[in-house]
């Protein structure tokens, strides 16, 4: 495998890993409090719905969207996702936003599950619906990452392989640990994913702007694919500068950013 293919596999794996940790936390909270039957059925239903969405979205994008437009649109979306994650990572690292706590989220889900009343039917609809919604929402992001990374790199199987690795590994870790995955440093993972998505997103969105010139050819970065590594280094260096600057600036007047 070339470095570019490894990059797609690793990027898809790490991004999917973070989403899977969040989905697993929700399913575990429902399983331990409302029963595993409803939690697992909700998960299976969400996986089925995701399969339909994946096939429909993949077919529509590959069939109807010209490649140059695709590069611009998905580049923009990846960049928006990446910068949102990077923004939160910078604000958390500089002490301006509360750190993401998987244990606290688990306890919140458990409290909500315990407070909800039991239905009369055989299947616990609360556990089913919360599991379904959690897996479907986080899974949609995984599907989106696989489609965009895969189509842009002309290698959907590589992106799917990375995502599949995360889909297998995260539940396996949770099953072995039998508790929420708070031991995983999710804040650090989100920082890494933010850097990756921002770098790939910058590369593709800027290249995609070429659709506005005569001939509609994408803009070519100096060094081609190697420019992604340069962008990664630039985003990393800039994020450290932002973190240091925000830490230094009036620490006593710091306000937690609510968004």
């Amino acid at each position: 495998m070339t470095a570019a293919v490894w990059g797609v596999v690793i990027a898809a794996f790490v991004a999917s890993f973070v989403e899977m940790v969040e989905a697993t936390t929700i399913v575990m909270a429902m399983g331990f409090t409302r029963g595993w039957r409803s939690a697992l059925l909700g998960t299976l239903a969400a996986v089925g719905a995701l399969a339909v969405v994946t096939v429909a979205a993949g077919y529509a994008i590959a069939t109807w969207l010209p490649e140059s437009v695709l590069q611009l649109v998905v580049g923009c979306l990846l960049l928006i996702f990446g910068l949102q994650w990077l923004r939160k990572a910078i604000l958390r690292a500089s002490g301006r936003k509360a750190v993401h706590d998987e244990d606290a989220i688990y306890q919140k889900e458990v409290a909500a599950a315990e407070a909800a009343g039991k239905g009369a039917g055989g299947l616990d609809m609360f556990g089913f619906m919360v599991s379904f919604k959690g897996v479907f929402l986080e899974g949609t992001e995984v599907v989106f990452i696989v489609i965009t990374f895969g189509l842009n790199a002309h290698n959907v199987p590589a992106a799917a392989l990375g995502a599949l690795g995360a889909i297998i590994i995260v539940p396996a870790i949770a099953l072995a640990a039998k508790r929420p995955l708070s031991m995983i440093n999710e804040n650090m993972l989100k920082y890494v994913v933010g850097l990756l998505l921002a770098s790939f997103g910058t590369y593709w969105s800027v290249a995609g702007v070429g659709v506005f010139r005569a001939g509609h050819q994408v803009l070519s970065w100096p060094g081609h694919d190697l420019a992604i590594l340069v962008l990664l280094a630039v985003w990393f260096a800039l994020s450290r500068v932002f973190i240091a600057a925000l830490r230094d600036r009036s620490p006593r007047e710091q306000e937690k950013v609510t968004a």
């Binding site: 928006i80 992001e141 989106f144 800027v206 702007v209 803009l219 070519s220 968004a259």
Partner: protein, 75 residues
């Protein structure tokens, strides 16, 4: 209509998220790059570098807005 609204809401939250400033920053930076392209400001290499610089600058502006000191109006 309710389902249509929920569908739109889902995609808004999925794409724009909890901070519309980021999406606005990305669109603004790329719009400026398109303008630079259309007037032939730079060559191909210059345009890609300009695009990168514009995106970084736009992101820095959103961070500045998020973290700027706020005046306490209650005093």
């Amino acid at each position: 209509m309710r389902y249509l609204k929920a569908f739109g809401q889902f995609w808004y939250e999925f794409v724009i998220g909890d901070d519309p400033k980021i999406a606005a920053a990305v669109v603004t930076a790329l719009a400026v790059l398109v303008a630079a392209l259309s007037i032939g400001l730079f060559g191909e290499v210059g345009l890609t570098v300009l695009g990168g610089v514009l995106i970084v600058a736009a992101f820095a502006v959103t961070l500045f807005i998020d973290t700027r000191p706020r005046v306490n109006r209650d005093r």
